[in-house]
Subunit: 414 residues, 2 copies
Amino acid sequence: MKNVICARCVKCGKEYEAVPNLENCSCGGILDIIYDYENIKTKLTKDVLKNRTDYSMWRYREVLPVEEDTPNTPLRVGWSPMYEAQRLADMLGIKRLFIKDDGLNPTSSLKDRASAMAVAKAIEAKAPVIACSSTGNAASSLAGNAAAAGLKTYIFVPSRAPKGKVAQLITFGANVVSVDGSYEDTFKISAEAIKKWGWYNRNAAINPYLSEGKKTVALEIGEQLNWECPDYVALSVGDGCTIAGVWKGFKDLFALGLIDRLPRLISVQASGCCPLNRAIAEKKPWYPMEENTLADSIAVGVPRNPNKALNAITESNGIVVNVTDEEIMAAQKLLGTTCGVFGEPAGVTGAAGLKKACEQGLIPKDATVVSIVTGNGLKDVDNAIKATKPPILIKPDMSALISAFEENGIMPEN
Amino acid sequence: MKNVICARCVKCGKEYEAVPNLENCSCGGILDIIYDYENIKTKLTKDVLKNRTDYSMWRYREVLPVEEDTPNTPLRVGWSPMYEAQRLADMLGIKRLFIKDDGLNPTSSLKDRASAMAVAKAIEAKAPVIACSSTGNAASSLAGNAAAAGLKTYIFVPSRAPKGKVAQLITFGANVVSVDGSYEDTFKISAEAIKKWGWYNRNAAINPYLSEGKKTVALEIGEQLNWECPDYVALSVGDGCTIAGVWKGFKDLFALGLIDRLPRLISVQASGCCPLNRAIAEKKPWYPMEENTLADSIAVGVPRNPNKALNAITESNGIVVNVTDEEIMAAQKLLGTTCGVFGEPAGVTGAAGLKKACEQGLIPKDATVVSIVTGNGLKDVDNAIKATKPPILIKPDMSALISAFEENGIMPEN
């Protein structure tokens, strides 16, 4: 990889050669991939990108940690739509708002970006099997991306994982192990199994390439905003890998001279499970927390990537906001009715936090904000249904319809 | 609309001015939109498209029935990925196979193409409310596309509609009426209500613009294959609107000189509900049939668009194939494991029929085939789970894992 200098530990600074099967530093710290930006700068320019027809995450290959001859992975990951949501911006009292709908990735979550990267690196490592533990989305994205590339997967999920995600896993032919325990239990047993059987490790916060895949969401935001950096980027935070990736992406854009400043991150966690936001708010080291939220993807009591995540929030002069499950479900409805975007609970948590931050006067009225929706609402239909009124049920008869409208206060004339 | 000459009845040939709120001909026949291809030909060329950066269905505006100043609808509909599936082609014994994954549209089905068109036409008609009946996907796509555009919706679904689709409807803020009856019952009551309250009518096979939206899937297939026409296109058929739209799209491409021949269509229906395929096979007029299939989107006993659908199959020298529910669910797994594509039951019915046609020797070995996946598997998770083995459940403990692998004949070394 001519564009990569090395991998460097974020804790102790020790440097490693960027081989495909890198894991954590010997000190336990997470590695960060270090690029040769001066060289990349000459190749990845606004003009080059303007003429590029690959509309997937691989359009940014020059700043991704893959060998020059590694093939693009088969599924079309990335280049998700970014919608300007003017009515919602007006409601929230901010100037401009963009919704980046990453639920439209191939397996319907942002995690496809990390999993596609894992598949590319496993192919470089000539590994026939990839494994991971996950609250659900990393799992289904790995299963789908690996299946398309002809690789075998072993996947560990906590038994609470929503049905939609499990259905994906099984349909993609993964070997699925459902663990009767927390995400932490699931992570630990996957780590043991990966060690025992020598599978390629797609565990987030172990494999340093994953956040390099995730950062492509930020690269796209920059390009989709025509290289105008937003003032704020709101997103949900669980184990911390996504916010770390997003921050890395913006720093890449800045280092390459593609944007001229950096955004502030709005880190949103569930009130029932917010160890990282609590650490920032209390200005103390993080410590474990229970996993009390219906937003399963961010119900992470022991975040796997605290260092990179806390760095990202601090370096960006970020804002931390915690939201209740009720606020999350209200945000789901709000995005649905105003933008036609259906996100899963964790997927809309960023928007719930943005709304709260606006109400608390934390966001200036002239701000331009991007809110990332990290997963599709179809992944967790049961919670969506729970949060809403059931439809009107009638016999197929006009008088029944008219009565039902009357009873429900619906005025069909308007 | 300078590109549109008129709307013409497919039954009696009567012509109408192409106003936004067109419905059926006075004879009851369905209208077809007639274009000025000679004029369009000079504007919509391969070179023009090569330089166009709008990757949505609206990149083909010149051959779509909208006014020049009608804005593109807000959600990014269309330009779904088309994957070459070489391993699956080898398994089926054909030369080349492409999977067009229309489940990656904004509300996760091909119906977004029709609904985006309906929203564009409702805006032209200055209608504040749109209504339709649907087995589910047309409903959720209308709800989402209308919400994004700020229009109100009334939507009628049969009470059997899968939960995923209902969750979408409610989240998008539609007024949902669940009808305790068949699709036919649902359609009839929606028609009465639309008449009574004067809503804009998005019922398929009534509104002639919808199949013009759907045809964009065929326009994309042409362009994504670099204007090489495939030999066969396989897809599921319910009320007949989608196959009619696909055929219209290929005929457009041919009329514009963008492809030099036409494909043969493979019309796939469920054995338990195949009135159109039965009509072709028996060379007799179609007549109603029960709705006995788990593929809810194509459980249509009284197809609303029989004329256009039967014309499409006949004109293309098409093939009709019926598949059982078991064959549908097997195709779901087959696409998942070989391509990383998760389609809903009706979404993979085309692939199930293609497999069967290959096994019956109906498809030549040197054929290039496109199989359209019309909806995302996440829309109907319960059926996907029913069709597969549940995951291995263990306590978080290595010895439990090793025993479970042994019991299930899994050899993690490989």
